[in-house]
Symmetry: C2
Subunit: 208 residues, 2 copies
């Protein structure tokens, strides 16, 4: 019964996620959201709740958008090919005309230093989820022989996480796509490195 919504919740959520990725949680005002989505304040509150809830939902939306890539990675012929696809996707988005693509809502949110503990915990969980995906992929590459670096997969995944986040910052610093790709290439070559190479300093490895 009643009137039907005159917008697609999913589409709005995607726009919102872009804005949050671009300007962060605190840096995105309701007014900005309203102007970008074109809908009224009450419609937004009816559908998604307050700003916090909207943000959390847009994080989920962002994660959902990531799923096709995840599938592509799992369908890749080797662990290494999966990682190439992953970074291709990452760098490719930085080349997009839409500058919103240059950002990651999770990485931006983590670095932003929000106070809200629920938000922080959610972002950490998403980041940990990505880490698991990367760790599994690295492990797979080590098993299928496409990655010859014998360091613990978890440690390599941590570094790939570092690269993922760092690429975003460099993209903001106006580095061209070519330079981002070069960085990715070097990072991948590290995964290929089969010389001794254990962490030259610090603990032998992290917790298993």
């Amino acid at each position: 019964m009643g009137r039907e919504k005159q917008f697609s919740e999913a589409a709005v959520l995607e726009d919102v996620a872009d804005l949050f990725a671009l300007h962060g949680y605190q840096g995105t005002s309701l007014a900005t959201l309203l102007a970008a989505t074109g809908l009224g304040k009450q419609s937004l509150y009816n559908s998604f709740g307050d700003k916090r809830a909207l943000y959390l939902k847009s994080v989920e939306c962002s994660a959902a958008r990531f799923q096709p890539l995840e599938a592509e990675m799992q369908g890749a012929p080797s662990g290494r090919a999966a990682l190439v696809a992953y970074f291709d996707h990452l760098v490719g988005k930085c080349d997009s005309d839409a500058l919103a693509d240059k950002s990651c809502i999770v990485a931006a949110g983590l670095l932003e230093g929000v106070d809200d503990p629920l938000i922080v915990e959610t972002l950490r969980a998403k980041w940990a989820g990505l880490r698991e995906l990367l760790r599994d992929t690295v492990e797979r590459g080590q098993k299928d022989g496409s990655l010859r670096n014998p360091a613990p997969a978890a440690a390599l995944a941590d570094l790939l996480l570092v690269v993922t986040a760092g690429l975003r910052v460099n993209a903001r610093a106006d580095f061209g796509t070519a330079r981002l790709q070069s960085s990715v290439g070097l990072a991948l070559s590290m995964l290929d490195n089969d010389s001794l190479l254990e962490a030259t300093r610090g603990p032998p490895e992290g917790p298993h």
Copy 2:
């Protein structure tokens, strides 16, 4: 003539820089600044101007605080040792009790997506300056033989920049110091890698 200031501008600027690093430019309100520094609004405006000017000055202050490390790097016995000192400093700060140390005002500011073009340009310039330092250090390491990766120093510096920024994000994600150090170790091992390493895109299976 007149009354003398009852605070040290330099000390205040350091506190302010910590706050900006922690919560970003947009995320740090005047009220927060006032409460943390303990001084009145007008004192702050008299000494530093408006929020934007204060931010820019705190960025400079942050860069100045970096100088001792830069000197240490230049005094290091080798290019590689200089980079070890650099990352030791970086990771060491993440271990600090003060969580403000876990952040970098430049990296945070870049990822934050501020609109102000002067701020963005300033941050980009600082980031580029750090890149030059890293490039020179890598070059030095390649010449003195402490770094065996023959890839272009500029490309390696880009990746070290990526690592620098990414470490900050992982630190926010509550990764322990051990895991950060492990990531640094792997990144350094990449610099030691003397196998193939072509820049952008590696062959599926290296002809090793």
